[in-house]
Amino acid sequence: MTTLNVRDAAGRVAGPTAAADSASTGPVLTAIARTVVALGRALLIAVPVLLVSTFITFMLGGLTEQDPASLVLGDSATPADVARMREVFGLDKPLLLRYLLWLWSALHGDLGSSWFSKIPVAQSIAERLPVSLSVAVGALLIAVVLGCVFGILAAVRQGGWLDRTVTVVTSVLATVPGFIAAIALITVFSLLVPVLPSGGWVPPSAGLWKWASFLLLPSVSLSLDAAADVARQLRTGMADTLHENYIVGAQVRGLPGWRIVLVHALRNGAGPAVAVLGMHVPRLIGGAVIVETVFALPGIGDLTKTAALGGDVPVVQGALLVTIGVVLISSALVNVLLVKLRPAARREI
């Protein structure tokens, strides 16, 4: 049994010093290893998901009765012209072969060209992705900030007026469709109090403030249900966590209240909220069609909608590929974040 004499502590200086150094590298290494494992697992899932989902969309494109060749050529085209056009588009080949050919060129970065406008798909995506991404990232930030602030406050003030207000407001927001929120926001901030533009888009090069002013309303209307869901999940998760013994343990150690809430409770209570946020990311990017329509934004959602209505299969395929890619990246990030938040949870996997 060791004692706590000064002499003892001094005599052992050599031991703990060397030990303290390895303590700094040890946990770092295991943390990196854990992250790599989580990322690897996410990628292993991503590859088959990517293959299956692109194949399904390709099949759906092939199964529709639309004949793009005759659509492109119009009513006055002769059957010979249509046949020649089908050959150009590769529609005379079997569906599976067409998919493999598409996949092969997609892997080489060639997503083909629009059947109608002849613009390369990669080019239209590159033009529109920044618009969608900036709206989505803006919405994500707003959802995280609002969700965290109100979720944490409601959990800390359980049963108080703030908690009840947050519960009511989030329940309402979670059921309001994005386009209703968009129209309401336009009515208030563009018509009644005309401070923000009701739609359209300028690139950041036109001035950051101007760019942000065009982004704000679409981002807010897109973020509301995500913010409400994050707030609700965070409130529930944190409310449970705040009753745990280790919160009492942290209080006994005399740690300040904000540190207990933001370090000890948040870390263990944030899991469900992070998972829900991860599920919202696809909706922020792929599901922005309605918001992009309402605000007349030239984004991926708008591109997909126009292409899908016209039967422009290469464009739809390319847009879907990008959307799926973004979704997979975000879910991989969420998985890594969850592992980092609660390392003990790896026992449950």
């Binding site: 049994m1 060791t2 004692t3 706590l4 004499n5 003892d8 502590a9 052992r12 031991g15 703990p16 010093t17 030990a19 303290a20 390895s22 303590a23 700094s24 040890g26 946990p27 295991t30 745990e244 013994n245 280790y246 009492v248 343990g249 942290a250 209080q251 006994v252 150690r253 005399g254 740690l255 300040p256 209240g257 540190r259 370090v263 000890h264 870390r267 263990n268 938040l341 609660r342 390392p343 003990a344 949870a345 026992r347």
Partner: protein, 292 residues
């Protein structure tokens, strides 16, 4: 439950004994009353005097009010439970009147506590070393690197082998005995004067329990730590404490020097406790064997 005149004199006797030994009173609890949300009182006027450097035992069955008394002293009563009367003073400072933030600052630096089931009192998602270093940074103001170094040193001083390895472990990777040592390290790191050990060794197996009790005894001897030991186990109390307070139904029924209370119990409940211990304790079997 009314306090019999017999126990009242015993309480006074304990206070006198402390006065005679010439040690100043570190913690004084006077007429402490604790009630739950529906208005029913669960602790009915408890008096306690804990002289500096002493070890005071609180014994009694579960639900007798020992733990609530400790939590009231710490200022950490569960939600809906509150102090409805009495005074708690630490070195003459009245604690019940202090605002929550000031009481939080006292915890760790003036009084500390360890509990039963140590694993549940540590954050499951943070390594034990990081949690210990956090206390060192927040309560003592050490820098990151210094806190890590000091934390490893403290783990070593608590008798943990391979302290650097322990530093980077998560709570679920350590045994109960190791975790209790980690918690003791955390609680004494800001050099509090009073350590409350609420059933701190109850869930541990006997050899580990002995080691942890030994560690507490050493801390008392080497650092002058005052101990308040809560247990339902008379063996622990008799081994560790100078004076003992017997709790029943939210009141102290008997108090006095441990030897006196265990040898000549005055209150019927104390007698019952000791008899049960004799009847079911290991000593009885051992005595029988030696008689054969």
């Amino acid at each position: 439950m009314s306090v019999s005149p017999d126990s009242a004199t015993a309480v006074r006797a304990a206070a006198d004994a402390a006065g005679e030994s010439g040690r100043e009173t570190l913690l004084s609890v006077r007429g402490l009353r604790v009630s739950v949300a529906d208005g029913s009182e669960v602790v009915h006027g408890v008096d306690l005097d804990i002289p500096r450097g002493s070890a005071v035992g609180l014994v009694g069955e579960s639900g007798s009010g020992k733990t609530l008394t400790c939590r009231a002293v710490l200022g950490l009563l569960p939600v809906g439970v509150e102090v409805t009367g009495g005074e708690i003073s630490l070195r003459g400072t009245e604690l019940t009147a202090l605002p929550a933030a000031k009481r939080a600052r006292l915890r760790g630096t003036d009084l500390a506590a360890v509990f039963q089931d140590p694993a549940s009192y540590l954050n499951p998602s943070i390594t034990v070393g990081a949690q210990l270093a956090e206390v060192l940074r927040v309560k003592i103001g050490l820098a990151r690197r210094a806190a890590r170094y000091r934390a490893v040193e403290l783990l070593h001083a608590m008798g943990l082998r391979r302290p650097t390895h322990v530093y980077s472990q998560y709570p679920f990777e350590l045994s109960g005995g190791m975790l209790q040592r980690v918690l003791i390290a955390m609680s004494i790191t800001a050099e509090p004067e009073l350590l409350i050990a609420d059933e701190a060794t109850t869930a541990l197996d006997v050899t580990v329990q002995a080691e942890v009790l030994e560690l507490l005894t050493e801390l008392r001897r080497d650092r002058g730590l005052t101990l308040m030991i809560v247990s339902h186990d008379l063996a622990v109390i008799s081994q560790m404490c100078d004076t003992v307070h017997v709790f029943r139904d939210g009141s102290i029924v008997e108090a006095g020097p441990t030897r006196r209370v265990l040898r000549v119990p005055r209150h019927p409940y104390t007698r019952e406790l000791i008899e049960n211990h004799e009847r079911f304790g290991i000593d009885r079997v051992r005595k029988q064997r030696s008689q054969q």
